[in-house]
Amino acid sequence: MKRPLIQPLILVALATVLGLLLNATYVLEVFRPVPELEVKVVGEYLPIPVEIADVEAWWQERGVIVDARSEAAFAEGHVPTAHSVPRGDRRALTKMVDCCLSDKVLVYCSGEQCDDSFIVGEELFRIGFRQVMIYEAGFGEWQSSGRPVERGAP
């Protein structure tokens, strides 16, 4: 009866060591301290829902657009010029402050069924983007409407 207790521990230990070795770079990156972002909340987070025509106009004006989906989904296709800020990715948020902090930002995710755009929009609001526009129909509608799509990793 001892073996069933020791062997599972060996299996878990082996998998843990292998997993951490395989993903050492990723794990070290995650645990590297990130400089604290300055919170600049003014007023209440009230995102503005926008339609595809508004998104197109904003894109043509070269406004700041944020893709709140995962990096892999972003790489498969995104609105041209969009920045990738997956939910919970503080490094990507820091990059947004460094590169593009402005009054207005437009955020989208996959479509009506996802809430990542809303959550990332709130994070952007907290770090200083005053007005957050949410494109609720998301990338699904943008792509199916035949509008331009850019591919490639962030």
């Binding site: 069933p4 299996l11 082996l14 998998a15 993903n23 995650v30 645990f31 995962s70």
Partner: protein
Amino acid sequence: MAEQRSTRRAGGTMMRWLVIGLRILVAAVFLYAGSQKVFAVAEFAAAINRYQILPLWGGALVASVLPTLEIVVAGALLLPGWWRSGALVSIALNGVFCAALLSALLRDLPIDCGCFGTTAGLWSSLGAAQLRASGLLGISLYLFLSEEREQP
């Protein structure tokens, strides 16, 4: 008497093949699930974080270790002398999956399970994942408690 012995032997052989078949089935699911995620750790961490259960660093750690654990368990299930331990770890893994999926279903989270990376489509819906995890949990329990001993 001889007839009884022969019936018992036939039953034993059937039971043995059933156990082998179930071990291969559970191992195949774990091997597929692990291999789909083992080199997509950031993507898998994002899928874990969508459950909103663990802190971000916890999601990253689990995403780094879970795919290799699934592959190791698959290997153990196929090895004589190790498969019962593999079944025990599988019970623990599927128990945790079931709890996490149930919690996501109760909170009505608009997510997929993230079990097979990004390629599984409908198989990744929370309902389908809950059914699959419950089935695998049942099979793993059966394997762990089965009377088969040290069979290849």
